[in-house]
Structures are given as C-alpha cells and as structure tokens.
Symmetry: C2
Subunit: 252 residues, 2 copies
DNA sequence: TGTACATCAGTGAACGCGCGTTCACTGATGTAC
DNA sequence: TGTACATCAGTGAACGCGCGTTCACTGATGTAC
C-alpha cells in the first residue's frame, strides 16, 4: 500500500525555521481570509482566491486547512473572538458599579465593531452560509462571550436588587412565560442558576440581547431603507436607552 | 446588420394560446424558483437548476427573465408580498379598537410566516445576497407593508391618546434622540406627518419593528443556540408583550 | 562534524463540476390581406 | 377560407469561467547516529 502523505502534521518543535514559518503563514492565511471575507462575503469566499493572494498554488493550502469549511470555521471563531474582545474591553473600561454604563458600553462597542466589520458581522449573525454547518463545539465558547457579559451585568443587578421587573403586566403572566422560556438555560448553566437571577430577569436579559443583535443587524443590513432614519446614532442611543429601561427600569 | 431576436416581447393580446401558456409558465417559474430558494437558499439559486426542473433548456428562461438577478428580484417581491398579505390578513381579523391585539396579531403572523418560509425570510431580512443589489424602486413598496401596518396601529394609538411615552427618562433626552432619528421619516412621508404621531411615538414604532425582525431572525437563524430557549413560543410571547409595553405602556 | 534518512512545504497538472449567457436554428402560433 | 408572412417559444451546442480537491513530485529543513 502506498503511503499517503499526512496532510496536516503535528508540528514537532515550537522553534526552528519551519515552526516559525508555519506560524507566520497561518497568521497570514487568517488575515487574507478575513480581508477576502470583507470584500466578497462568506458565500463567495474561495480557497483559490486566498491562495492566489498568498502567492501559493491552491493545493498548498491543504497543508494548513482541511478544506474550505475549516477556513470558514477559523474565520468565524476569529470574528467571535474579535467581537468578544472589543466588548470586554469596553466593558472593563467602565465603572463596575454603574450598571447602566456597563450595558451602554457593551452595546455601543458591539455596534461599532459591526459597522467596522460588516461582513464578519453577517458571517456570525446573518443568514447561515449555504452548504456549511458551523461545528457547535468549536463555536459555542467564543460565540457566547458577549451574551455572557450581559448576563454578568444582569446577575450584578439582581444581586444588588437593581434589576427591573417585567415591563408588562400582569406579573403572573410575565413570570409564567419567562419561566417556560428559561427552563433549559437554568438547567444547563449552573453559573446562571447560582447567580440568583429570577426567570424574568433572565428573560429580560435575553430580550435585550436579541434587541441588540436585531438593532445592529438592521443597521448593517440596511433593513430600514436608506432614507428612513436620519440619525442612525441617535436612533441606536434611543434603542439602548429603551433596552436599559427593560433591564433596570425607567430611571435615568 | 443582423436582426437580434427581441428576447422578451410585449405580449400582444391577453387571450390566445400563447398568452395563456406564457402566464402559466411565468407562474410555474415563480413557483419553482420559490421551491428551489427554500431548498438551497438564495446564494445557491441557479437559473440552470430552475430550468432543469421546468423541463427546459437553460437558455429558454431568458424568454421570461433577463437573467438571474431578475429572477431574484421577482422572488424578493413575491416574498414581501406573501409576508405582507399574511400580516394584513391577521391584522384584519382582529377587533380594530383593540390595539394590543392588533399588534400581537401582526407579530404572531410574521413569526409564523417566517418559520414556514425560512429561506424567503432570510432572503429579505438576512444578510444581503452576494453580487446582487435589489432595485429599490421595485422593492420598497411591497417591502414596507408590515411596517406600515405597525405605523397605522401607532397612529391610531396616538389619535386615541393610548400611545405610551418613551420608556426611559429623562423625557427631554428621549424626545431629543427620537426627534433626531425620525426627522427624515417625517419629512419624507406626509401620511405619517399628518398622523399626529410624536417623534417619540414614531421612534417607539421603529424600535418595535426592529425588535420584531430581530426576534424572528434570532429564532429562524438559531442565533441563540439550540439549547438556550426551552419554549420558543413562550419566549416570543414574552417579547411581544414587552414590545407592547413599549408601544402602549405596561397595562395588561 | 558528517552522513543517511525522515519529515514537511509547496508545485504543477489534472479531475469533474455547475454556472450564466450567447447564438443560430426549428417549428408552432398568430395576423394581414 | 386560404395563403404568405411575422412573431414567438423553446432547442442544442458552445463560450469561458472559477471552484474544491487529488495526486505524484521536488527540494528544503530537521533528526538520529
């Protein structure tokens, strides 16, 4: 039997010319992939064009990546990570006791990141890429950094009794819906269960997260039409403040 | 100079075998396009595969459509129209004086339609299709049917003084942000200007529309992960009630 | 320090694929007289 | 009613394209002794 060449060797040492080259080419591969993604979008991203820009023959990429899908996965993880880092940095730069400021910082940083990286935003929050399934095990962790930030804010609010109630009445109905919605989440995430958040507070957190993604997507994808919103930033601020009222109550 | 065959003739009479055939094939073309869209998604929709299913040679489609882009436009308009009709029907089936019920009916019908037609939803509210620009003049009118419905509800609420105030304080800040955001909208849409809605009421309507699209997209695109929400319907109801509180105030 | 061998990066040619679009054509349908 | 001509629907072959992936290969880098 002929020996098939192992396409993706485990790099032996971490030093040496090869290891250094490999690391730098892997970095370049991600960078070029990211740039192409930004130019043509995920559906049109091709191994061949990336290889061209790297000055390589297409087949050479198979040394670094098992195929097109793995490149996409790489870029998705990078995008989530980059977004998560931006949000975490913004969040950390704000006085921890000021819950509203923490929420606003996260929201603003998400919008800013998305406007700066529209194709990466649409890769992770747009319609699914045709013929591609993101492997959940790789994607879940970096993909939940921002929502976990929101949940941390919510848990702090709950601990300090600053979380708002459901915004609608009767409270019994709100509690029942929130309970049904958040059952799984409480069961599967022990940290959340230990945080002392009520189902309503949890549901409010999820609502706000959905609002944030929806608001940013509406702007990035231009769903409202070109001439509907005169001042996109003001409208976003309005949405952020509305969401803050859901989380913490109306007080300014 | 050789006579180029005119690819897309103006049909002379509305009767006759030809006209009937043309109409029925045009209908079949849309139907097959819709089905393929639902199966493979917009980016992978191809003239050739549609032609195959129609039992025609690919070039024959150019009698009916000037190219792939026009087929996409056709399907986009169809999707908006179908969604708009569903929402309008649900809206019309509800007691007109019950503003909350009208809002809930519209929201529910949008969600139901989207879950039944995920690829059409993602065609009109997902990330833009690569290498395709929807012609705004054709798309705008059917694309605003649902938001216009919401605005009509908002206008009725304003007329009957049932619209809620901004959900956050101070009111001056809310008014200022809302004013900056809705300037263009009021200027460009005389009906809205005549409706007597305040900028805050208008902004609340836009917020709710964005929330609705965001909530439905989150569910259709599975952005929250598989195991986060135990009862998607309950969570949607929770969001609908939260949005109703934004539009009309908390009262149940 | 030198030599023989193993590992690895990248090449170049080729595979089969589906795509949108063009063009000259045939035969059926419609129309003018 | 019949005939000559114009219009139109659909065919079939071909164009050039870019894609992902495979495979046997060359030459450089690393390793064991």
């Amino acid at each position: 039997m002929p020996e098939r060449p192992a396409p993706r060797p485990t790099p032996g040492r971490a030093d040496g010319i090869r290891a250094r080259n490999r690391a730098s080419i892997e970095a370049e591969l991600r960078a070029v992939g990211r740039r192409h993604l930004a130019e043509v979008g995920a559906a049109a991203l091709s191994l061949r064009s990336v290889a061209r820009e790297l000055g390589m023959v297409p087949s050479a990429l198979f040394r670094y990546v098992s195929g097109r899908d793995e490149l996409l996965t790489l870029l998705i993880v990078d995008a989530y990570t980059s977004l998560g880092e931006a949000a975490e940095a913004a969040h950390a730069a704000v006085e921890p006791t000021d819950l509203r400021a923490r929420w606003a910082a996260v929201a603003q940083s998400v919008r800013t990141w998305a406007l700066a990286h529209p194709h990466e935003w649409s890769l992770i929050f747009g319609s699914p890429v045709p013929r591609y399934d993101a492997p959940a095990d790789v994607t879940n962790d970096p993909g939940t950094r921002v929502p976990r930030l929101l949940m941390a804010i919510g848990a702090d609010a709950a601990a300090r009794s600053l979380a708002g109630p459901a915004t609608f009445t009767p409270a019994s109905r709100a509690a029942e819906l929130a309970g049904r919605a958040s059952e799984d989440l409480l069961r599967s995430d022990p940290d959340l269960a230990a945080s002392g958040m009520t189902p309503v507070e949890l549901a409010n957190g999820l609502v706000v997260w959905t609002m944030l993604v929806g608001a940013v997507s509406a702007e990035v994808f231009q769903q409202l039409g070109e001439r509907t919103i005169s001042d996109a930033e003001a409208f976003f601020d309005y949405q952020v403040a509305t969401a803050a009222a859901i989380l913490f109550g109306p007080g300014g």
